[in-house]
């Protein structure tokens, strides 16, 4: 198990290299001179040349890239073009804000989604099932920022119970969480429903019925845990979407989180900040996916053997069967 975790963490390295390479590539093809961007339009040619030298922009791209990677290894993600502050110092406090919002959103989405999914699986093919489906699908069809606008209009402008923007007031977290969480309900609902229905059709459910077990216990003791396996698997992917949604929502609500920081940096073409943000998001995603995978092992004992035995999921060695 320990070996497996180490292996997964080592996998971070190529991903980080890849992500930084992609953004670096984007940076080099972007028109415009960062030095001019920092110094403004009034700067003289000499000042710009000096600045370029200082930033190392005159070196070949590869050298710049290697230097950057070297810096990252020491915790130096470069300095923001705009403020001149170290990127890491700017991002870290924002990470907490974004973290709270994203976790809250995932919790809302997963809780409501799984609940609705169970309900619709148990009431399959009834009007309740259709209603749940339509409701969750409706939320899936609304872009995060539109949910945000509606919430602002209702709770902030009309009812005055929640602040329009900012998080000075802890209540300010509520709307961003809902904005990201509600659209993700459908995903959980659908996976829970179909996986629940599949599990309820399995032979071992019939075995449990033949034992004389009550439907209630069959649903919650036998089926639910098995049905949660694919649902848990989807948390990882939906987290990526939530972080993406967070970028838009934080901008709409003016929340000082990583998402807004990256969006601002993109509009300002502030590449050190974009790079830093992207790398940190990548790290967070990989680590969370690792945690999700570890959680699986707790739900599904079959995985424990394969993980301990070979690390990777067992490849289908076709032939042994007749």
């Amino acid at each position: 198990m320990f070996k497996y975790i180490i292996k997964r963490i080592l996998l971070l390295i190529p991903i980080m290299l890849g992500v930084s390479a992609i953004i670096f590539a984007l940076k080099t093809v972007t028109p415009g001179d960062p030095a001019r961007q920092i110094l403004g339009n009034n700067a003289t040619q000499e000042q710009i040349e000096e600045k370029r030298e200082e930033l190392g922009l005159n070196d070949p791209v590869l050298v710049q890239y290697v230097r950057y990677i070297g810096g990252v290894c020491h915790g130096d993600f470069g300095n923001s073009y705009r403020t001149g502050e170290p990127v890491l110092k700017e991002i870290l406090p924002r990470l907490k804000t974004s973290g709270i919002i994203t976790l809250g959103a995932v919790a809302i989405g997963a809780f409501l989604g799984i609940l609705l999914g169970i309900i619709s699986a148990l009431k399959k093919y009834t009007w309740i099932d259709s209603l749940v489906l339509v409701i969750s699908m409706f939320f899936q069809s609304v872009p995060e920022f539109v949910v945000g606008l509606v919430l602002i209009l209702v709770f902030a402008v009309k009812l005055h119970v929640l602040p329009t923007s900012g998080i000075e007031n802890p209540l300010g977290y509520i709307m961003p969480m809902l904005c990201i969480g509600l659209p993700s309900i459908a995903n959980y609902t659908r996976i829970t429903r179909s996986s629940m229905l599949e599990v309820l059709g399995e032979d071992y459910i019939r075995t449990a019925r033949a034992k004389g077990q009550t439907e209630h216990n069959i649903t919650y003791h036998h089926a639910l845990r098995n049905a949660m396996i694919p649902v848990a698997q989807s948390v990882g992917t939906s987290l990526g979407n939530s972080i993406g949604g967070g970028m838009v929502v934080e901008t709409v609500f003016g929340v000082p989180g990583v998402g807004k920081y990256i969006v601002d940096s993109i509009t300002q073409r502030n590449y050190p900040s974009i790079l830093g943000g992207a790398l940190i998001i990548a790290i967070v995603l990989v680590v969370i996916n690792l945690l999700v995978d570890i959680a699986f092992v707790l739900i599904d004992p079959r995985l424990k053997t394969t993980i301990i035995a070979g690390g990777k999921k067992q490849k289908k060695a076709k032939p042994a069967a007749a």
Binding site: K312, Q314, P319, A321
Partner: protein, 321 residues
């Protein structure tokens, strides 16, 4: 004695798994005479299907030779094999429900191999040939436009047979062709296969786990255990004079549909393990009631105990009646 159509020499097929090398087919040697049927029996996981697919080059052999009319088809480049020998060696698959593309109708399914292998034929010629094949395997004309999911298992298996036969092969690997079918349908397909063999001089390799079926259709029978061939003999001999303890156990385990049949049952302990990184020993030693230290340390070789009767057991002499 007639000539050998196929000579298999030291054929090996290994698969690498996370747990080690899986010896699915290990050092198998046998011959098949022209126009005869060899039955391959064994329990699931003994490598009998892999053997068939390796002969077909659906799996690439790890090492060994397969001489088809004297030409080694196992080591030639896959491209050359596909071009020149694919149509000579064909296969009938186990599951007639899964082995037909659900999006094609019966005629399309049977036309496919003809079209793929002879691009020069006109549309009409292909269709005529396919219709001829349908008639040959006993599929009614009205089924031409039916889809596989509308047909029962027996008819689907007839499509599978027509597909294989449409290329005029001389050798057919039948991979459990009747095990997914009910007894009454099974008899229809077995009769069809035997009729076709007579008409067209086909040579079969018949893979199955059903002893009564294999005895009915085969001339020779080979018993496999964990990737190795442990006994090979003429079909009628295996039920009279089995030599290898495993073959004896296998035979005695078959329930006989006769209330008065009283036979000694030899119930084996334990179950088949998978042949991953096997040690040099008799692979049956773990379950064999007669196993000695020699069996656990030394791998037995196939020896000819009687004319045409080969056994891989150190103590074969002891079991000869």
């Amino acid at each position: 004695m007639s000539e050998n159509l196929l000579e298999v020499k030291n054929l090996k097929k290994y698969f690498s798994t996370p747990h080690g090398m899986l010896h699915a087919v290990d050092n198998v040697t046998f011959n098949i005479e022209k126009g005869k049927t060899i039955g391959i029996v064994g329990e699931s996981g003994c490598g009998k299907s892999t053997l068939g697919k390796t002969l077909m080059r659906l799996h690439e052999p790890t090492s060994g030779e397969v001489l088809y009319n004297g030409v080694d088809i196992a080591s030639m480049p896959l491209k050359k094999f596909k071009k020149e020998y694919r149509s000579h060696i064909q296969m009938i698959f186990q599951d007639p429900y899964a082995s037909l593309d659900p999006r094609m109708d019966v005629l399309q399914l049977i036309e496919e191999p003809i079209k793929v292998n002879d691009k020069k034929l006109s549309k009409k010629e292909v269709e005529d040939k396919a219709k001829e094949m349908m008639e040959l395997v006993g599929l009614a004309k009205r089924l031409e436009t039916a889809y596989p999911h509308e047909l029962d298992g027996g008819r689907r298996q007839r499509i599978g047979i027509a597909r294989a036969l449409s290329l005029n092969p001389s050798f057919i690997v039948c991979d459990e062709p009747v095990s997914a079918l009910d007894v009454s349908i099974q008899a229809q397909i077995l009769n069809l296969l035997m009729d076709l063999q007579e008409q067209r001089g086909l040579t079969y390799m018949f893979i199955t786990h059903d002893m009564s079926v294999v005895k009915h259709i085969s001339d020779d029978i080979a018993v496999m255990y964990l990737g190795q061939m442990i006994e090979k003999c003429p079909a009628d001999e295996i039920f009279r004079d089995t030599i290898h303890p495993y073959s004896q156990a296998l035979l005695s385990a078959i329930p006989i549909p006769d209330v008065h049949a009283k036979h000694e049952r030899m119930v084996l302990k334990g179950e088949l393990t998978s042949p991953i990184n096997p040690k040099p020993c008799c692979r049956f030693a773990k379950r064999c009631p007669y196993a000695t230290d020699r069996c656990r340390q030394e791998e037995p070789k196939l020896r000819e105990m009687r004319p045409n009767h080969l056994v891989a057991c150190h103590y074969a002499e002891k079991f000869v009646k």
